[in-house]
């Protein structure tokens, strides 16, 4: 590798620093990768600053030997060479007197992002194949790519913080470790689905877990209000808070780009860990304040596709009195209506387009149809790890998404507030009051029937395996109490209970029907006390 050969256009200062250039190369290559991830605009700004100041030009030729840090298996021998090249550097580190603090920080950051980039270049398992293809070519081409020369502010004008040699050593060691680990075993931060782990996970004998239950705790479950109250008090460390804020700011910088993309008939899809509601909301508040916007909470548990379409047809387009045979004709009508008003735009903000109720072919096809219209723009977020599976390539081509990593680390407070988490104690106030209301509207006979089921359940629900009240038994007790005269009447009555979710019908293995009230015993007790 002729990496040490310096090109002709080297500034004189550079040659004096020549000795440690390999090591700097490490940082700069990484720096470079980090930069590539940032948007071009920022690069230009940064370079502008650096260009005016004093500078050293580091040719990427030097860096290219490290460029393959974690490329792939194909670069076996090159990596070995790299290790050889790097080993003497450890001794050299002491000869570097200073590295400015900001630079050091950037190095650290750069390494991280380079790792992130490496593995994200896999682009999902389906694409793994090709990704390795161009990472290989990447390492080859970086020699000739002088366009990506990297400049860094002069070392000597740094903040004056000294870097201890061990710190530097640690860094080098880490780099070596990372580059080395690619060859020996796969780095864990690389995201590959390892199928063999599936078998090791499933083939082994029944997994054994302890028999502890949460009831061993003094407060087994918190209730929802308590939880919210406590979570509000939770403090995030200052450093994390500031970087979380930075994410928000970074996103804000992109707002203009986003709106530009939307108008060019792309749609936006945000992914990454953490709630993206804030980002979408800010986008709505700052950019789309005066535009027709439809906000859809995909995580809302009783959202229906019809709600969305009705909101557009009735509230937005005021197409009253038109009825549609199916959702697709409804969508068609919407698209047609919007084609008539080409100068007005509708923005659909969908929080969690992978939400429970939208997780089906029909809903996604309908959304895709809307999103493909020229003046309907979709901005959506996904969170579920398997979310991209809901789209086939027909839908994807209609959606025409531009993906955006909006990792925010914000808690999913609103998103999870609907979920009945197993750790949250259900106060059941809601269940109780709805039960009460329905019960009040029942006829006296129906009330009687319900009371029978209730009483039976309260009397027998001591064991963990309460099966329920047999339909036949209920029928006979009802007859005895002169509540029903025939099987059919009872069934009609039960249907009403089932519809209101006051009773659940279960069929056991032998075909017998059991009736259960799906409400916690303590609540039932309370309810029954109220009734008597």
């Amino acid at each position: 590798m002729d990496d040490e050969v310096l090109p002709s256009s080297v500034s004189p200062r550079k040659s004096t620093r020549n000795r440690k250039s390999t090591q700097k190369g490490v940082a700069f290559e990484i720096e470079l990768q980090r930069k590539m991830e940032k948007n071009q605009q920022q690069i230009d700004e940064e370079d502008d600053d650096e260009f005016s100041g004093e500078e050293i030009q580091i040719e990427d030729t030097v860096a290219s030997n490290v460029a393959l840090a974690g490329k792939d298996i194909y670069s076996f021998d090159r990596v070995k060479k790299l290790e050889r090249l790097e080993t003497p550097k450890k001794e050299n580190t002491k000869s570097i007197p200073k590295t400015p603090h900001h630079l050091r920080k950037r190095i650290g950051k750069g390494i991280k992002s380079s790792i992130a980039e490496d593995f994200s270049s896999d682009g999902g398992e389906a694409y793994e194949n090709t990704a390795s293809d161009y990472s290989a070519s990447e390492s080859e081409s970086s020699n000739s790519d002088s366009s990506e020369d990297v400049d860094v502010e002069d070392i000597s004008d740094g903040g004056g913080e000294t870097v201890k040699a061990p710190a530097m050593k640690g860094l080098v060691a880490r780099i070596q470790k990372e580059s080395g680990s690619r060859t020996s075993k796969k780095s864990t931060s690389e995201y590959v689905i390892r199928t063999e782990e599936y078998f090791s996970n499933n083939a082994t004998k029944k997994s054994t877990t302890s028999n502890h239950t949460l009831s061993k705790l003094k407060t087994p479950r918190l209730n929802q209000e308590e939880l919210q109250r406590l979570l509000k008090k939770t403090a995030v460390s200052e450093e994390h808070r500031s970087s979380i804020c930075n994410f928000g700011e970074e996103c804000k910088d992109n707002f203009n780009r986003w709106i530009c993309l939307l108008h060019e008939n792309f749609n936006l899809l945000f992914y990454g860990l953490g709630s993206k509601r804030n980002v979408l909301h800010e986008f709505h508040e700052l950019v789309l304040k005066d535009q027709p916007v439809l906000v859809v909470n995909g995580f809302f548990p009783s959202l229906t596709l019809k709600d969305i379409l009705d909101a557009i047809t009735h509230d937005m387009l005021q197409m009253q009195g038109e009825s549609f045979a199916n959702v697709f004709s409804n969508c068609e009508a919407i698209v047609d209506a919007f084609a008539e008003i080409p100068d007005q735009h509708l923005y659909l903000l969908v929080h969690n387009i992978d939400g429970d109720m939208l997780r089906n072919h029909k809903a996604q096809a309908a959304l895709a149809m809307l999103a493909s219209a020229r003046n309907i723009h979709l901005v959506a977020s996904i969170d579920h790890i398997n979310a991209p599976l809901v789209w086939d390539h027909n839908k994807l081509s209609k959606f025409n998404f531009v993906w955006w990593d909006c990792t925010s680390f914000l808690p999913y407070t609103d998103e999870t507030s609907f979920e009945s988490s197993m750790m949250v104690q259900r106060t059941g106030n809601l269940a109780l009051s709805s039960l009460r209301n329905v019960f009040l509207s029942l006829t006296s006979n129906a009330k009687g029937i319900y009371k029978l089921i209730l009483k039976y359940q309260l009397d027998h629900n001591t064991s963990q395996y309460y099966q329920g009240l047999l339909f036949k038994d209920l029928y006979w007790s009802c007859r005895e109490a002169f509540l029903v005269s025939s099987d059919l009447v009872l069934r009609a009555q039960l249907t009403e209970f089932v519809d209101h979710k006051m009773v659940k019908l279960k069929r056991s293995a032998d075909g017998a029907e059991y009736l259960i009230i799906p409400i916690a015993t303590n609540l039932l007790q309370q309810f029954s006390n109220e009734q008597t």
Binding site: Q41, Y191, R257, I259, R277, I341, W403
Partner: protein, 685 residues
Amino acid sequence: MESTVSVSKGVFVFKNGLQPNKQKGRGRKKKIPTGTGNIYRDEMWFQTYTELWEVLESKIKELNSDMFSSILSNLLNFIDGSYCKPVTEIPAGALLTGINMPDHAVQFETLKSSINEKISPHVAHLSSQDCPSLKNLVENMINQFINEDIDYDLDEENVKSTKVKIKKSQCSFTLLQSWYEDLYNNKVDNVLVVILPDFESFKENVLQDFIQIASYYVNKLPFVLVFGIATSLSALHKALPYHVSSKINIQVFNSQPSITYLNKIIENVLFSNDCPFYLGGKLFALFTDIFLFYDFSVTGFIQNFKFAMLEHFSTGNAKALCITHGFSEVLKNFSKEDFENVRMLHSFRRFVEAESPKNQIELLTDDKYFQKAIKKELNKLIYYMNNLVVLLECLNILTADLPKAPLGKTFREIYCVAVSKKLSETVEFKEAFQLLSFQSKDELLTKIDSVLNLLKNNIEIYTEENIVDDLKTFIEELNNLSNDQVEEVQEDLDCLNIEGTMQRAQLKQKLFQQAKSQNKPMNAYEKFRSKVVEYFEHIFEEYLKVPTDFTFHEIFFYNDISIQNHIIGSHRAAIHTALNDPQSYLDCSCCGISNDAVILSSMPDICIAYKLHLEYGKMINLYDWLQAFLSILDPVHADDDNEKREVDPQLQARFTQSVAEMEFLGFVKSSKRKTDHVSRLTWGG
């Protein structure tokens, strides 16, 4: 945010003065937007971008119709001639479209409109999503026949406008029959074309029933079916059993595979002289790979190209210079900042450094002087780019059919290599030229000939040598070499003077040495051939430079691979990194870890919960999980083993939230198998 959170609804409308079109009825027509509403519409770069994109878009459209035209005319002929003779079976055309469904929508639209224009006003276009049952299919079809016909008549301002629209639910075959007889006075006239673009997604029984019913009316209603088949013809045979397929008379039409389509788009549109925007090697490889290994979608490729273009242009007004001519006008409108934007380009620095100090100052301060320099450099680049494309095409002609095709078979493969490194220095290039120097006379002649033709058509090639003339002389010379000259082999082989007796081994060795040392003298053709090959080698070496050698190449070449994440997204990977190594995102000093197994108490709660859950098998005991969680966040109290453990409610709340979030992300779900257990939904790390 509160305005969009509710426990009772999930959809929130912000109408903000949306004005629906109140005009109802038949008079409405599609309007053309009065201009882009883009926020950047006043920026120079955006205008350049829009202009360029419009040019490309129209060219793509043109190419699209060209591509489809031959098959279209075949189909039209087939439909037109289908009822010339009395038929007993329904004529059906099976159009094998190849697997990309989204791309075909346009084709079927063109098909429909050209049938409407040329053959018959009665065309029904049925997609499977509208036809879940036979009833829907028939209603939909007949509705399109009858009701769209009214619109058609209206446009012609026919007297029939008084006719009322027939309700969809009333549409039936008998209605269709009476309508048809009414329209054409009991004669069989215009055919009724039914297009099913996605044959495979239709339910088999619906199709079977439909075909059987339609076949009863074959003498009264002239149906013609067109199936769009994405897989293979066997799909048709599988869906239709014999008693059904015997009712139709299938003719198969093959359309070109999407890869040819892509190659055409690349060669005729993206690398035409009108398009000054070029993708760098890495990006270009990425896009073609997405196409080849991911979706075969030309539409997708074009959208990716568009996105790259937008990203390229959006870096500033310097990119407004990404045009093929007329730099002066653009430069005239440049402001101070715009010039600065150009100065910021990386390649400019190298350019400055190569200049004398006096010039350097002028370049950096004097915009006028700078402007001249820009023009000069850009013209160089334009020449280079024109040469590049033409010469690469020449090279492609020369090397495409070589054994194993070291430089690839298609233009795009050569291009990919050529813009990322100096082609003449690559092993593949040398190999290709080695192989070229084994070509026979005829092969060479045809190749030179086609290169010559290509060059003649591209007058805009700027080289010092006049390649066209040189090639002409080559061809002449080659033709002058008469066949016997080619065949003429010098017979004056040195006689093997085998002196005396030798061991067999010795003889063998001697013969071997002789064969080796004897450089077979070249005949006239071989001499000529090596001359030609050398000539080509020289030309390619001279003119196939890497774009990065040029100043301001950033204006025309875009090679930012980071947009990959925006195009294919790495959703799962992003979550995975964020959870495993939060520092990579948070960039904090507290969460640095040497390997992924390390759990630090400073990490976000969900990361801790996630890492802990990785240690479990299929089932996770919530109590144990909580204990593990606590031992990390609160190690002091971890080991007091009371009967009823008291947990800091704050920590418990945080754990509760983390578990809920894990469930939301799809890592765990609650399980009924054992109390207070959740089951893991993923495996591995």
